[in-house]
Amino acid sequence: MPRISEDTVLSVARLARLQLSSDELARFARELESIVAWADSLQALDTDGVPPLLLDTGGASLREDEPRGTLARDLALEPAPDSAEGLFRVPRVLP
């Protein structure tokens, strides 16, 4: 039973903010279907009572919540495609 139709790819692509061409939709539907069908081998494993892996290096201890310096605004804006008045600029969002 195919799980990945072109409609599935279209809705996943919308979630991922990817604007795909119709050629891409057809190709990715085909490829993802075969990858997901193969990944379905995991469904045969008994994972009842097995916890998801959580790696812990002990390094992520909480620090005091004190304000401190970070990247300077002009440096942060330098790689931006468009900026104005110390802010990132994007097309109008509100009508």
Binding site: A13, S41, L45, V50, L53, T57, E78
Partner: protein, 493 residues
């Protein structure tokens, strides 16, 4: 003279610089000349920085002349995978989306290596955003394998591996999410170390899959890896996932050799799918280690067959989240002419990302989406626990688990690009270490049909030292790591 310099190991360069037999400037110039001569055939670099490198080398020479202590990597030319930020150089991740991007900060591991005297000579090619096993997914160009220009160097750190193999640099940095240091190291005949997850800082490294990614060195010998790892590992207050544990002096531990250590071999996993010649080199390497006093026992990894499926679900899920930041707003190349925000995002990402990156973002978004999360992403995370338990059981009777690094030597360009699944299966032996967060080493174990293959050793968490001792032990009784790819087999000659 110049040719002699580019054959030197990191350890030998430091020693000669310390004795004033060579200046850092001479060493740097010799490698820059070699890069200029060989790069047209190899395409290992995306950017070189000759002036910046020579200036840093001269500064090091002046400080040494002034009586400063000689640091661990004094005068050692370093190539950096184009996913790590280096001050003054662009970071593109071999993607059109990041063309021309200049990061306003530097990766901690780069800063540490430079403080230890390493000289960055350039940024190396890779699969786009580290997604691939061949550099064929670089949006800029493929890198060629120095052993055979018709074959891939492996990936994603293919440029780094090719540069070390072809003597363009003695040391390079890579990143490894599912084998991206070890597989190209094996394909190019060099040594590569993926440290334990959290062992080294990832600050200033563009994230692919955060629960799997780790930075590590590529060099020609385990000894050089040990020197570099002692410098680059360690806690970084800027990376909350980096481990707050002391870093051993790996270099001095090598003298203890491998005698008395035990290697476990998962025989059942090797029964099929490994090329006969590659398997023969693997068995010979085990026998060589035995002559050095290492014992070899049988072991099992019962869930190995499920590793790749679990890996591609977890890695793509995390990638789909990490790559959300590339939206054309704060950095990168913005699609022209989009008049509303949604189209700006969609068109920037459609034009900026290559097919493999899109494929993985789609798969990862699917694995995380409502209705599929439990069946795919969460189940894959549970399978990681099963794989870690496999290793824990194996480590009850051995100090490291050995397999061939890859099922076969380097493949030809185009051989696996038509079928993405075929490319993924290449990672069968390397992904388990990432899934379980364990350290892993690949060292050359000879030629199979004229092409290099690697021996992989996976160790207990934070026991890089054991792996490096075993690798050094092998390199004490064999000369595979000293094999030099021929210069003459270049394109068109």
């Amino acid at each position: 003279m110049t040719a002699g310099i580019t054959q030197l190991s990191c350890a030998a360069i430091r020693e000669r610089v310390a004795r004033r037999e060579l200046s850092a400037e001479e060493v740097t110039r010799a490698h820059l000349d070699r890069i200029a001569a060989r790069e047209p055939d190899l395409d290992a670099f995306l950017a070189t920085a000759p002036e910046q490198a020579l200036e840093k080398a001269r500064r090091l020479d002046r400080s040494l002349a002034g009586g400063a202590a000689v640091p661990a990597l004094a005068g050692v030319p370093l190539a950096v995978k184009d996913i790590l930020h280096v001050s003054g150089l662009p970071t593109t991740c071999a993607s059109r989306l990041l063309a021309g991007y200049r990061p306003p900060f530097e990766a901690t591991v780069v800063t540490k290596l430079e403080a230890a005297g390493a000289i960055v000579v350039g940024k190396t090619n890779m699969d786009e955003f580290a997604m691939g096993s061949s550099t064929e997914h670089s949006a800029i160009k493929p890198t060629r394998n120095p052993w055979d220009p018709e074959r891939v160097p492996g990936g994603s750190s293919g440029g780094s591996a090719a540069a070390v193999a072809a003597r363009l640099v003695p040391l390079a940095l890579g990143t490894d999410t599912g084998g991206s240091i070890r597989q190209p190291a094996a394909f190019c005949g060099v040594s590569g170390l993926k440290p334990t997850w959290g062992r080294a800082s990832r600050y200033g490294v563009v994230a692919f899959a955060s629960s799997l990614d780790q930075v590590g060195p590529l060099a020609r010998s385990a000894q050089d890896l040990a020197i570099a790892a002692s410098v680059l590992c360690g806690h970084d207050p800027r990376d909350a996932t980096s481990a707050a544990r002391a870093v051993p002096d790996y270099g001095s531990a090598l003298g203890r050799g491998g005698a008395g250590l035990r290697i476990g071999v998962p025989r059942a996993a090797l029964a099929e799918g490994v090329a006969p010649e590659a398997l023969a080199r693997f068995e010979e390497a085990l026998r060589a280690l035995q002559t050095a006093g290492v014992s070899v026992v049988d072991t099992e990894l019962p869930h190995l067959a499920h590793a790749i499926a679990a890996y591609y679900l977890v890695a793509t899920a995390e990638a789909s989240s990490n790559l959300a930041r590339f939206d054309g707003v704060r950095y990168g190349v913005r699609a022209a002419g989009a008049h509303d925000l949604r189209r700006l995002y969609g068109e920037t990402r459609d034009q900026g990302f290559g097919p493999e990156v899109k494929r993985r973002i789609l798969l990862g978004t699917f694995a995380l989406s409502s209705g599929y999360y439990d069946a795919y992403y969460l189940r894959a995370q549970r399978v990681r626990t099963l794989i870690l338990r496999d290793f824990e059981q194996a480590f009850a009777a051995c100090d490291a688990v050995a397999t061939p690094t890859t099922p076969a030597p380097a493949f030809r360009f185009g051989e696996k690009t038509e079928n993405p699944l075929q490319m993924y299966l290449e990672d069968v032996f390397t992904v388990p270490a990432n899934l379980a967060g364990l350290p892993a080493l690949s060292v050359p174990c000879g030629l199979a049909n004229g092409l290099p293959v690697g021996l992989q050793l996976v160790g207990r968490p934070f026991e890089e030292e054991t792996l490096l001792r075993l690798g050094h032990s092998l390199q004490t009784v064999t000369t595979h790591h000293d094999l030099v790819p021929p210069d003459s087999r270049s394109r068109g000659s």
